[in-house]
């Protein structure tokens, strides 16, 4: 049996807690410990918050989906929505040593995703969907 579950829900921050419960449960089923479950929860939360907040206003309450697969190596997650394509790879890496006055407000979401997951990739689909794919391996041993 494939251990795959998908949650489809409105693009609204009121559902972030539900997303967190869903993702951390799937991370647990995939064999991660509690701290790693929180890390995976943050990575997905950041991606979903971006879908909710950076989608054009008109379409912003469209449903989007989160698919989690427990695989032999750990977990694979795909977040899919109908927002306009954007240039994921050219988003600037934040300077985390900057002082409080010199930092932009925000700009830490994608950075945290990449820190907490082993792999993060953005692919605008031919189907008019954007897909953000991320995965994390279970620690060896």
């Amino acid at each position: 049996m494939t251990k795959e579950a998908t949650l489809q829900l409105p693009a609204d921050t009121a559902y972030l807690k539900m997303i967190g419960e869903f993702v951390s449960r799937m991370a647990k089923i995939s064999g991660f410990d509690d701290l790693d479950c929180k890390r995976i929860e943050v990575a997905v939360d950041e991606a979903c918050t971006n879908v909710i907040e950076h989608t054009q206003r008109g379409a912003s309450h469209d449903a989007f989906s989160i698919c989690c697969r427990a695989v032999a190596s750990g977990i694979e997650i795909t977040i899919s929505d109908r927002g306009a394509p954007f240039d994921f790879d050219s988003v600037a890496v934040p300077d985390v040593s900057a002082g409080a006055e010199d930092r932009p407000i925000g700009g830490l979401g994608i950075f945290l995703m990449k820190k907490f997951m082993d792999f993060v990739k953005y692919t605008p689909g031919a189907d008019g969907m954007r897909h953000l794919t991320m995965s994390k391996n279970r620690p060896a041993g």
Partner: protein
């Protein structure tokens, strides 16, 4: 709501108690509560994180807004009781260097 926010004053220090998930749903609530109290003159703030089990970058964003406003008003902010997961998000984002962080509200009140 995803977060319960309480506030009380110890002498002139505002103690903001957060309980729940500090995510993009809670962030506007926290910012609003702070902004209201700040506009009423609160410039010394202790934030009690002991009941915050979850933090995303939306929470960090609000904390950055708060420290900037407080510094520009010659005020101060001290954080207390960060759980390990919350501390890790702070460390990775370089926020540990921006804030004074204490173990308990008592220690934070002594340090501010």
């Amino acid at each position: 709501m995803s977060m319960e926010i309480t506030n009380r004053f110890e002498n002139d220090v505002l103690v903001l108690g957060l309980d729940g998930r500090f995510d993009a749903h809670a962030a506007p609530q926290v910012e609003e509560t702070f902004t209201t109290l700040f506009s009423q003159g609160a410039t010394k703030v202790v934030v009690d994180f002991s009941a915050v089990g979850y933090l995303s970058s939306a929470g960090l964003r609000v904390l950055l807004v708060m420290i900037r406003k407080l510094k520009s008003a010659q005020g101060a902010i001290v954080l207390a009781g960060l759980q390990p997961h919350v501390k890790e998000v702070f460390d990775i984002s370089g926020f540990t260097d921006l804030f004074t962080i204490e173990g308990s509200v008592q220690e934070a009140l002594a340090a501010i």
